[in-house]
């Protein structure tokens, strides 16, 4: 009896709390203030423009949540004046980006530009800002074929104090081909003292139906230049061919099921229903043998 009581108590507790385990998915807000955080990066492209990217988020219970519909102000801090580049609204992941030309942006004597991204804050989320400095650079590439070997000739330049184009020496560059979901890295090269590098393109990579490939060359996480990217298209890819099955296969839109499946289904259903029919037949025979019999009771 005691054991039954103990089990009853356990059961009552279980029934009391079990629904909460299922439905209690929204936890009460903690009393501690939420700290707003921002990450700020940029990408300098070869057409003298930069893409400024900010990500606004909070950390709660160990999870990261992007802040949506927040206005991020991007600016450049000069020695004499600050230039407001504009605002961008964050998406569901908390990302906001702004593309602007680097022409006319205030830079220091070394040509370094200081960028800033700021969130003004509101009643629930405090203001936050981030900044970084980077020197604009440019990556160019040309393609040539020598003795049936395909080469990508890369050059990277920057502007000196006089505004002249000078090489970016001794930096490591990554070479990518964009795919559907991510960048396919096909190699990396080191720039020489003249800011030049050569990469032999040896892979067989599927391009579009005409065989066109887009090649991206990137300088990444450089202390001076940040992220710099150059890109170009070349007809070195394997033309994409859409597969057309000669026989019906397993696509979602295939009208006919595989033969083995149809045969299996027919055998199974026929086997089962034959037994049903036999059972019903036996019931009919029971009915036929019912006449002139004595009742059970």
């Amino acid at each position: 009896m005691k054991r039954a009581i103990v089990l009853n108590i356990f059961l009552a507790l279980f029934l009391t709390f079990a629904p909460k385990f299922i439905t209690a998915q929204e936890k009460a807000d903690t009393a501690a203030p939420v700290e707003t955080k921002i990450t700020f990066t940029y990408l300098c492209t070869s057409n003298d423009s930069v893409v400024l990217k900010a990500n606004l988020f909070i950390k709660k219970d160990g999870e990261i949540y992007g802040l949506e519909n927040a206005s991020i102000n991007f600016s450049v801090t000069g020695e004499k004046e600050n230039i407001n580049l504009g605002n961008a609204i964050t998406n569901q992941e908390g990302n906001a980006s702004l593309t602007c030309s680097i022409k006319g942006l205030p830079a220091n004597k070394e040509g370094i530009i200081s960028y800033a991204a700021a969130f003004k804050g509101n009643s629930k989320f405090p203001p936050v800002e981030a900044s970084f400095v980077a020197k604009p650079a440019r990556i160019k590439m040309t393609f040539n074929i020598e003795d049936s070997a395909r080469h990508i000739n890369i050059s990277a330049t920057q502007k000196n104090a006089k505004g002249e184009e000078v090489p970016v020496p001794n930096e490591k560059l990554m070479i990518y081909v964009p795919r559907l979901f991510s960048m396919l890295k096909i190699g990396e090269v080191d720039l020489d003292a003249d800011g030049k590098a050569n990469f032999e393109f040896a892979g067989k990579i599927v391009g579009d139906t005409l065989g066109n490939l887009r090649i991206l060359v990137r300088l990444e996480e450089s202390e001076l230049f940040g992220y710099v990217q150059g890109q170009n298209e070349i007809n070195w890819g394997v033309p994409k061919q859409y597969y057309k099955a000669e026989v019906p296969s397993r696509e979602l839109w295939t009208p006919i099921a595989p033969l083995w499946m149809i045969i299996t289904l027919i055998i199974m259903l026929a086997g089962v229903w034959a037994h049903y029919v036999y059972a019903v037949y036996e019931l009919i025979m029971i009915k036929r043998h019912s006449k002139n019999n004595k009742p059970l009771y």
């Binding site: 039954a4 709390f17 299922i22 439905t23 043998h289 019912s290 009742p295 059970l296």
Partner: protein
């Protein structure tokens, strides 16, 4: 007449002839719950599925959980009754009818939850017009409809002797229409050697069929999940795992039904501790199998360290910690302790354990459906965090309660139509006892 006086039917006469005030109150209560469910259903039809907790990511919720649960209970009933019948288990007779009724009633309720899950019921016939054999959903529709027919035939075959007894038992004070109905349904069965031979042969064949169909049909239901590449679903052992979980939950439901009918209809002489211990031991063995399959499934997922499986397991041990513990630890260990240790094997303890097992197995199905849908493979455009989380609404809970109420109501009605214990079998036992004396 002498036969009538000695017949066990005499003891079941009150159950069949009249309904007590408590019985009517119980039926009114069930109708009330069903009424609330009907109101919830109307709300859902008028306002759309927005009134449920299901969204773009979690497109399956409590409805599918209930569907799997009821179908599992049904298949368990078929497997238990079929197996007990086929192997002529000595103690089967007082409980086999309940297992058969559980099979058919749960089988009628389960698919209704699929209908509740479908957004456009007016387009339901598209399933027939545009149904594709390659689709596991089509397999399921074919399998369930085949199973319904098979279980109905098996139930009818096993009821035939009792229908004949009810037809011939003149002392029973029943309305004329019921007498006529028994007469029609009894098919003129009078127990001649020819009729007995044919009935036994048909029943044996159908017992074997319902066992095999139950295994196949519940495997098909498992394949709906496992043939997809979703984390947590794409598992080769899902078929047998579902079958074991189904029989496990069904054995627990059978114990609860035994306890209720024993109390309500005072069947203490027929359903004894021996029957509870016997079904309890079936539950114990199934608990061990269920625990083994669960451990095996999660171990391979965890050890493989596939990214999405890892995320799912993290989710189970974080957001769904307690349901996971109750489902996979308490739900497994409790029967092993209570039924495994002889001195704990009381009727109350076994029944309470069965209740915990039913809840644990329902939670198990919830953990199969919801957390996987909360951790999708591909990022969907414009998918907001709140769309990833599922929480059932009052509409879903009301319809769930209505499903349980319909199950109870149909069981109650069935027990008014035919004795929950097969009396024809007991007549045979009584005769054997007389011979021995």
């Amino acid at each position: 007449m002498e036969n009538e006086q000695r017949s066990p039917l005499r003891e079941f006469a009150p159950q069949l002839e009249r309904t007590s005030i408590q019985g009517y109150a119980w039926i009114v209560f069930l109708l009330g719950v069903i009424g609330v469910g009907f109101y919830a259903f109307l709300t859902q039809v008028i306002d759309g599925h927005e009134v449920t907790g299901m969204r773009d990511n979690v497109v399956w919720g409590v409805y599918i959980v209930n569907f799997i649960f009821f179908m599992g209970v049904s298949y368990a009933g078929a497997l238990i009754s079929g197996t007990l019948h086929l192997f002529h288990t000595a103690w089967r007779k007082p409980i086999i009818r309940m297992a058969e009724l559980i099979t058919i009633i749960a089988l009628l309720i389960g698919p209704c939850f699929i209908l509740l899950c479908i957004g456009r019921l007016d387009k339901l016939y598209y399933l027939v017009i545009f149904g594709r054999i390659q689709s596991p959903i089509t397999w399921d529709v074919i399998a369930i409809s085949t199973d319904i027919f098979g279980c109905l035939i098996f139930l009818y075959l096993t009821m035939l002797r009792d229908l004949a007894a009810l037809r011939d038992y003149e002392i029973l004070q029943l309305p004329k229409w019921r007498k006529k109905l028994y007469k029609v349904l009894a098919l003129g069965y009078t127990g001649t050697p020819e009729q007995q031979f044919r009935l036994n042969r048909a029943t044996n064949i159908m017992a074997a069929m319902v066992i095999s169909i139950a295994i196949i049909v519940y495997s098909v239901l498992a394949w709906i999940f496992s043939v997809t590449l979703q984390p947590g679903w794409h598992s080769t052992i899902f078929g047998p795992y579902f079958v074991i979980a189904a029989v496990y939950s069904g054995s627990a439901v059978l114990i609860i039904a035994m306890w209720i009918f024993r109390k309500v209809y005072h069947l203490e002489n027929y359903i004894t501790q021996k029957h509870f211990v016997a079904v309890g031991i079936i539950m114990l063995v199934l608990a061990a199998f269920f625990g083994y399959f669960t451990f095996s499934d999660y171990l391979t997922k965890w050890y493989g360290s596939e990214k999405n499986d890892e995320l799912l397991i993290q989710l189970l041990f974080k957001e769904f910690y307690w349901p996971f513990i109750i489902s996979n630890y308490i739900g497994v260990l409790l029967p092993l302790l209570v039924v495994g240790i002889a001195k704990f094997r009381t009727i109350t303890n076994i029944t309470l354990t069965a209740i915990v097992v039913v809840i644990a197995l329902w939670l198990n199905r919830y953990l199969i459906v919801v957390p996987t849908l909360q951790s999708p493979y591909l990022p969907i455009q414009d998918s907001r965090p709140e769309w990833f989380h599922y929480s059932a609404t009052w509409v879903e809970w009301s319809l769930t309660a209505a499903g349980v109420a319909i199950f109870c109501l149909l069981f109650t009605i069935a027990s008014k139509f035919i004795p929950v214990v097969p009396v024809s079998g007991l007549v045979e036992e009584t005769k054997k006892e007389d011979v021995l004396i």
